[in-house]
């Protein structure tokens, strides 16, 4: 099945101007609590994108719905002009660090190699070429010498970089990252920022859930303010206005910009 899906993946030429991500009327609820209501959003085709909003605004839910990890009540997600299910190979993902068991008996290289599994296909072993690609990805985040370490023996920042390297190894066109800069050390922050800029320079799209409003303008070209629905979007300069922040975060919103 994976083989079939791969043949269908379709990357339109850049000049066609197809958006990497179009979300239409997306509504998501957990049990009885609605989290997102009628979200409509067309992601810009270039530049780093931040999704910001208060706790419980539905930031992670939005990207999980875009990734097909949460089933929406209604609405559709299109990746490069086609339904998500037919474009899996084009989509990469960096989850939050807490989402896995770090005691799991695998090395950093094993985890990064998982990024290649979609390219390898059912029942086949990880070839030398794929292992080398995984090694290169580890090198890009500065962890080549820790390749054989069991993942639980890495620091939190290093674990975050392993996840980033795994996403790089996927060679996707559209990346979703859930707070890749949350609570990391300076070395990791630098490594993550370098990778984000490199991906952007290669013409790939990166959408990050980001919690720190003060650093949005330094890193990102485009920001989506979310609170149960889209409040505002655009460049940080025009979007992070006192009115929009109040509408997103409530009365304390203005103070968040420092």
């Amino acid at each position: 099945m994976l083989q079939r899906l791969r043949d269908l993946d379709f990357m339109p030429p850049r000049e066609a101007g197809v958006s990497p991500l179009v979300v239409r009327d997306l509504t998501v609820a957990y049990h009885r609590t609605p989290v997102l209501r009628r979200v409509n959003w067309t992601a810009p085709s270039s530049g780093l994108i931040a999704v910001c909003g208060p706790n419980g605004a539905g930031k992670s839910t939005l990207i999980k719905a875009c990734l097909g990890l949460v089933r929406p009540l209604a609405g559709t997600v299109e990746v490069f002009g086609r339904p998500l299910a037919r474009q899996r190979r084009l989509v990469g993902y960096v989850p939050q660090r807490e989402s896995v068991d770090w005691e799991f008996p695998v090395s950093a290289l094993d985890v990064v190699a998982m990024g290649r599994y979609g390219l390898i296909g059912w029942g086949r072993r990880v070839s030398k070429a794929h292992r080398q690609a995984a090694m290169d990805a580890l090198d890009r985040v500065g962890l080549a010498d820790l390749a054989d370490r069991q993942i639980g023996q890495l620091s939190g920042g290093q674990q975050q970089r392993v996840f980033l390297a795994r996403a790089l190894a996927q060679e996707a066109q559209l990346y979703f990252m859930d707070e890749p800069l949350a609570g990391v050390d300076a070395a990791t922050e630098q490594a993550v920022l370098d990778v984000l800029r490199e991906l952007d320079a290669q013409g790939r799209t990166v959408i990050c859930v980001h919690h720190d409003l003060q650093t949005v303008a330094d890193t990102f070209d485009h920001v989506l303010l979310l609170n149960g629905g889209v409040v505002a979007e655009g460049s940080p300069a025009t979007t992070l206005t006192p009115d929009n922040l109040r509408a997103t975060y409530g009365a304390r919103g203005q103070g968040l910009m420092g």
Partner: protein, 301 residues
């Protein structure tokens, strides 16, 4: 060394193959945190055994027909797993509550059906009780060979799907994003557990098969930080437990084979807990001591 007959030898090899399969498949059950689901599965085979016996009688098969029994066992075992998944999915009950409820209902029904069957004036009905704790003496060489072949198939399937099983066990969300059918891969794992459980019913018995699935894998974790090696070590410990246990129970005829096999596996587990080179208690103690030495005393002039 006492002279062992051909039949016993085949049964020993069968128990070894079963242990290898259980260790291999069990490694992924432990890592996927599904140990309790497989316990419910094995207990839920009891009503299926009784129904399989009744179906055999209805079809006019004399005495106990092993394929019928095992087919019935597999059907009710799978039903129990599906019931757990349905309850966990459609209600807000936590999974352990669903497991507890399903396990006791199926086992209870099984005990009732077993007494009904044993009240029948049919030959072989009393033999059903051996499936509770296992009894290798009842096995024929042909049966043991067939079961051993199935065990080899189960272990080989894990080898083929190693990459997929590792991916889903480590990070199901990431697997889904890549387009892997995580639900179906889980289903294949449950299918392999069902296979191991059913072929282990005669040797180990349904009450204790869980121990042969979980203990070798848990023991193997103390020796390594790599999944490839952990799977191999679990297969080795499972195979040795099966072989040694079956041999001991053949030498001590009144001992249920299942209990002896599980006790051997437990011995391996305790030894691993203490002496395991990666995470064993002694290795941890030595590493702590060394670290204290280098950090505190090693500060030279």
């Amino acid at each position: 060394m006492p002279d062992i007959g051909f039949n016993t030898l085949v049964v020993l090899l069968g128990a070894t193959a079963l242990g290898i399969a259980a260790g291999t498949v069990g490694t992924f059950m432990v890592l996927r945190r599904r140990a309790l689901v497989s316990d419910a599965l094995s207990h839920a085979t009891l009503p299926g055994l009784a129904l399989g016996f009744l179906a055999g009688v209805a079809l006019g098969i004399e005495g106990r027909s092993l394929p019928m029994l095992l087919l019935g066992a597999a059907v009710t075992g799978v039903l129990a797993v599906l019931a757990i998944q349905a309850i966990a999915r459609w209600t807000r009950l936590p999974e352990d509550a669903a497991i507890g409820a399903v396990l006791s209902v199926f086992f209870g029904v099984g005990v009732v059906l077993l007494s009904v069957v044993q009240g029948l004036p049919t030959a072989g009905a009393a033999g059903l009780k051996t499936f509770l704790f296992g009894q290798t003496a009842a096995m024929s060489a042909a049966e043991a060979t067939a079961l051993a072949a199935l065990a080899v198939v189960a272990a080989a399937a894990v080898g083929v799907l190693f990459k997929e099983l590792r991916l889903v066990a480590f990070d199901e969300g990431f697997a889904r994003v890549q387009g892997w059918p995580a639900g179906r891969i889980d289903l294949m794992l449950m299918g392999l557990v069902t296979l191991v459980t059913v072929i282990g019913l005669q040797t180990v018995g349904l009450v204790l098969i869980i121990a042969l699935l979980i203990t070798p894998a848990a023991a193997a974790r103390f020796w390594t930080e790599r999944l490839e090696r952990m799977t191999g070590i679990a297969a080795g410990i499972g195979g040795l437990s099966g072989g040694i246990g079956a041999a001991l129970s053949a030498a001590l005829p009144d001992m249920p084979a299942g209990a002896v096999i599980v006790l051997v596996a437990t011995t391996f587990f305790l030894a691993s807990l203490l002496f395991g080179t990666a995470r064993g208690l002694i290795a941890l103690r030595i590493r702590r001591g060394r670290m204290r030495h280098t950090l505190l005393d090693g500060v030279g002039p």
